[in-house]
Assembly symmetry: C2
Homo-oligomer: 226 residues x 2
Amino acid sequence: MNTSTTRPARSAGAAGPTPAELGIGMRFSIHPHTDDFVEVILGALADVEQAGLTKDLVIETDEVSTYVGVRTAPAEQRLAAYLSAVITAATRRSGGGHVVAHVLLSRGCPGEVACDLSVTGLPDPDPVALERTGIRAAAQWSLYPLLDAGDGGGRPDHMAHIETAIAAARDRGTAAAAAHYATKLTGDVADVLATAVDAWAQVGARVPHVVTHLTISVGSPTQAGN
Amino acid sequence: MNTSTTRPARSAGAAGPTPAELGIGMRFSIHPHTDDFVEVILGALADVEQAGLTKDLVIETDEVSTYVGVRTAPAEQRLAAYLSAVITAATRRSGGGHVVAHVLLSRGCPGEVACDLSVTGLPDPDPVALERTGIRAAAQWSLYPLLDAGDGGGRPDHMAHIETAIAAARDRGTAAAAAHYATKLTGDVADVLATAVDAWAQVGARVPHVVTHLTISVGSPTQAGN
């Protein structure tokens, strides 16, 4: 663990930690189920860059996935817009074939293992606003509040945050069903992404370290139709 | 949340909670990057069933992923052997092409949202033993201890468990590098899976609710060679 630093408590007008200080970012991988997967992936990433959506993002690709870090606000909006555009471009480039993206969104643990979990003045960001893509997705979504001191000073209750987030997804119309270890989301790619990103950001206004995982599937031949 | 039930504290010879009571299981999806992905996936699942590896497992596939629950010990061994066989069969059936599996392993939250987090007598399972597959994998691995009361009665420290698990992976030779939000693992598919499964089970001997996510990639054209 690295050394904790003290930051000013949040108050009206006071600047809280920046997205970079909070380590807001994601890792994602995208899987077009086609022989042409290399062309589809590289083409989609180029499309999104040409559309200007990589501005202020730090993007590093390795053998398994791509890291996307955000240095400036609105961090959640930048990540969600980038991701929606990548999935849309890959779907288009694969001729409407089956494409799956796996996404890990994280906040509160900026480095690799080392974290500063004593941060105060957590930001309470606005919901993301994404244009509809016209592409129907089904997703498996899990949310992990990793450090919860307990709002009332009591025993940590990470499940309460998860239940609140699932209720919000139900209100939004994207929560299709509960499943073991995950919630199934369905709807336009933009709505599914916004559900997961907003929940992660909202829990992150109260819990320092929050991760969410989303497996988002488009064009599956086993589509359930709901 | 459902009603907590009291279980006997663990002692020599006392039976702890069963795998079913702990909700030990996984969700996984497998992504062959080929036009023939449907045949590859269905064929691999059939291969594994014919090999007798689905015995005592509860398997339910939906549009996004497959749930695999375990009712009997050794739960971790059954899940790891099943997964290793599915990845091996899919790789073989895709002619050594690029195959990615995404896995979520969970313990301590048996139902859907509802959890019993007051469980005592957590089992301390043996490490899994998997035959080498001869297939080299690279993986992105994240471990989430979700309820940690603090071993010394102090503040929960989920990062300490994560650091211990990463040190074990280094000793094993599978931890290739730290990355933002994840550890990169490389090695034989069996060793990579065993690293993640054993770490999840070992943290689960001390923390009631533990989840781990593993994105495991085989045959990537961007293989880094390490």
